[in-house]
């Protein structure tokens, strides 16, 4: 307990240092509550990948990304209504990693809700994570919006139970490009739950779904993929306004399928290449997406960051806070009925750094 208090004091010190050293973009503050009284904002932090080395040592680089997101989120004014964490708090699902991550997150001033990532899950199938953060899937209502959290990173039972040890299972799933991996899925149990949860919600109520993996199919080889994506989409299509927000991909992606707007979020740990830059595979990155800038590895935090999300009358406006780069905003265009980048959507407005190969 005293350790926790001490670390909280350190965070407060760090936050004051940040307040002096880095001014938050004013536009984020203006966006929140700009339009109508119905609007509200929440912060979204994801993919911290806290990685245990040995004893009390953790990978410094990944720690820094999460510490910074927490400190900056605490500086937001007006304050967001709540904070979401999008999964992969840990790298290999161990107690030290989840504990260390939870301690860093404990410095947040707001309530935090968590989404399960595969790096949190495949050591003990989420048992310790549940003790810290609660159920693996659930829903809640906030200011007229229905929020749903799914565990979308489960897979076939045969795969889950084929390994000689839990540690090996975790390692096999942790390798993004590991051919021994297995496709993510929500699964029948949660689909049934989702159906009955949605049955209680009027079709005019805006719905926001949080998952770790994309609930759309982009590239199977890296699990930018959910096996039963179409079945989930079919359950969501009858609603007037649906937003899906997912982590896992460590890059900016957005898409529109029918009534469903899809948004990915950045990682605080490290960026990933777009699948199109892997020359040996076909992939389906939505054409709508204007990619994030190619990362400069010499800036440790480049192409990482966190998000402030504005719920503007039921549609998600995504504001990316990028540590070493210009911020990006992807907002719902009511005329075109799809999310669009506020600056770069036009072909002619693109910049060379957004070309990935």
């Amino acid at each position: 307990m005293s350790t926790l208090n001490r670390s909280r004091r350190n965070f407060i010190k760090n936050s004051s240092a940040l307040a002096l050293g880095c001014a938050l973009p004013i536009s984020l503050v203006e966006l929140a509550f700009a339009d109508s009284e119905q609007n509200f904002s929440f912060a979204y932090i994801s993919d911290a990948h806290i990685q245990h080395i040995k004893g009390t040592r953790f990978v410094r680089n990944w720690d820094k990304g999460l510490i910074r997101a927490v400190a900056e989120t605490n500086l937001l004014a007006p304050k967001p209504d709540f904070v979401m964490f999008g999964g992969d708090l840990a790298q290999l699902g161990s107690k030290p990693e989840l504990d260390h991550g939870a301690e860093i997150m404990s410095a947040l001033n707001q309530d935090v809700r968590y989404v399960m990532g595969e790096h949190d899950y495949y050591l003990d199938l989420g048992a310790y994570w549940e003790k810290l953060f609660g159920p693996q899937y659930y829903s809640f209502d906030h200011k007229g919006v229905h929020f749903i959290v799914l565990n979308s990173i489960r897979t076939y039972d045969e795969w889950t139970h084929r390994w000689p040890s839990n540690e090996q299972r975790m390692l096999e799933m942790a390798g993004l490009d590991n051919p021994n991996g297995s496709p993510f899925m929500v699964g029948e149990e949660q689909r049934k739950w989702l159906q009955s949860d949605l049955a209680k919600v009027a079709k005019s109520i805006p719905v926001v779904v949080f998952s770790h993996s994309p609930l759309q199919k982009i590239y199977k080889g890296w699990n930018f993929w959910t096996e039963d994506a179409e079945q989930i989409q079919a359950l969501l299509q009858p609603f007037d306004k649906v937003n899906v927000i997912y982590g896992h991909v460590h890059q900016i992606q957005y898409n529109q399928i029918g009534n469903i707007s899809f948004h990915s979020v950045m990682a605080t740990a490290w960026p990933w290449p777009y699948p199109s830059s892997y020359a040996q595979a076909e992939q389906y990155l939505p054409k709508l997406t204007v990619p994030m800038n190619r990362a400069d590895p010499f800036f440790e935090r480049d192409a990482t960051g966190w998000q402030l999300i504005n719920m503007a009358n039921g549609n998600v406006d995504m504001n990316f806070t990028l540590y070493n780069n210009s911020e990006r905003s992807v907002r719902f265009n009511k005329t075109n009925k799809q999310p669009e980048d506020s600056r770069y959507q036009e072909e002619s407005a693109r910049i060379p750094g957004q070309q990935h190969y």
Partner: protein, 135 residues
């Protein structure tokens, strides 16, 4: 003296011709299969190093940021690396990654591990046209 030398030279040449050595331009699919197998063994070793948590000192593996070695652009090297301030070959950039994100030790340019890493990275980019210097 000269005569003796000349004779032994002739004998030597005849002797060489009698040994069934293959000619320089003669190789078979057995040879090419073996060469390919040697190369693929290096690629395999490179893949193992690429995904190894023990290549550096902090457990971070190359593949964590570069799945399938994507975003490494071997076809663009040598190129001007603005952060280093000069034109460098790929292995210097690999060493930068070993020292920084992996908190490890640089490899010699001709270290078989460095060869294997480059074999793997380049193999994952097979079929992509060479564009040295591209950014």
């Amino acid at each position: 003296m000269f005569q003796i030398k000349k004779t032994s030279l002739y004998l030597g040449v005849i002797g060489l011709l009698m040994v069934p050595l293959s000619q320089a331009d003669e190789f078979t699919t057995v040879d090419t299969d073996r060469w390919q197998q040697q190369f693929m063994a290096s690629v395999q070793q490179g893949r193992e190093l690429w995904t190894s948590p023990t290549l550096g000192t902090n457990g971070v593996a190359c593949a964590q940021c570069h799945p399938n070695a994507a975003n490494t652009h071997p076809e663009t090297y040598p190129k001007f690396q603005k952060q280093i301030g000069k034109v460098i070959p790929l292995w210097e950039m690999i060493n930068w990654c070993l020292r920084n994100p992996l908190e490890g030790v640089a490899l010699a340019a001709d270290d078989p591990k460095m060869t294997a890493i480059q074999a793997y990275v380049t193999y994952e980019r097979r079929g992509v046209k060479l564009e040295p210097g591209k950014h």
